[in-house]
Amino acid sequence: MLENDNPTIEPPGINPENPKPPIEHTKKTVTARKTDTVDNIQELGATEIPTAKTNIHVMTIIGQVEGHMILPPQNKTTKYEHIMPQLVAIEQSSDIEGLLLLLNTVGGDVEAGLAIAEMIASMSKPSVSIVLGGGHSIGVPIAVSATYSYIVESATMTIHPIRLTGLVIGAPSSFDYLEKMQDRVNKFVVDHSNVSERKWKELLFKTGELSRDIGTSVIGRDAVSYGIINEIGGLSHAQTKLNELIKIQKETKGLKQ
């Protein structure tokens, strides 16, 4: 383009040998492209999202674990119907090689929680969990369901017995029902972690540690020493471990074939 095509009057003091248009031009393109994407979202509900390949997918278990009942909107929830198909998709996808689980949960529906935990435990792909902040109640089975589990030092896990929330009332049969429910959780945790059943029950029924209930609040390092969680560590530890597990799995698969 000729400079004379669109003549402009330069303000005095600006050297005509050093024009700025090229910079402005680049800026304009960037803005224009951005608005295009926004327009696409607004008009078509779609946009060209860059799809960078990643071999590790991440799943967050946050707030309450929600099962059969939709909880009131003040609860932040992890929904069974979101998690389950995602786990199936991760298992089936040939691009995904590992799963990273991030936990910061206060508990929730026992059956939904156990279902998620069983799904993760039965996956063929390696999974690593990190307990951040808190992994309480039904969060414990989910945390231990991963192939390898980490807890950050500041995180806590509250281990306490399942109690009544009003649906099953009175009569010795309800005690039996809860007992059985508790046993399912106990068995899962004992099977999927290094904690002994005796130690687990001791933590579960300990008196004097929690104000509202019996049970224990287990902090980072203690969770590891009791054998519930494998190791203390954060994101980089988990990432390294996951890559290691993926490598091991690839090697064993290679040997089998």
Partner: protein, 75 residues
Amino acid sequence: MTFWSILPEELVFSTNNFPDSPPLYEEIQCNNITLLVEKIGPTQCKVSRLLTTNPQDYLHPDIQPGKILTYKPIL
């Protein structure tokens, strides 16, 4: 349903934490990514959460939580 949580029951199941009107959440699809959005008007919504396991999806600038999206009819 058996609920096992450290939060007291009355806190989880209470429905009067929002005296006026509770936020209305909706799940929408945006380029194959499920978004949990809060409706803030008949034609607008605010991205609240991304429901995807692909970590790369979370980097996309146009669907960051807090972004306001506008619904427009597809003709």
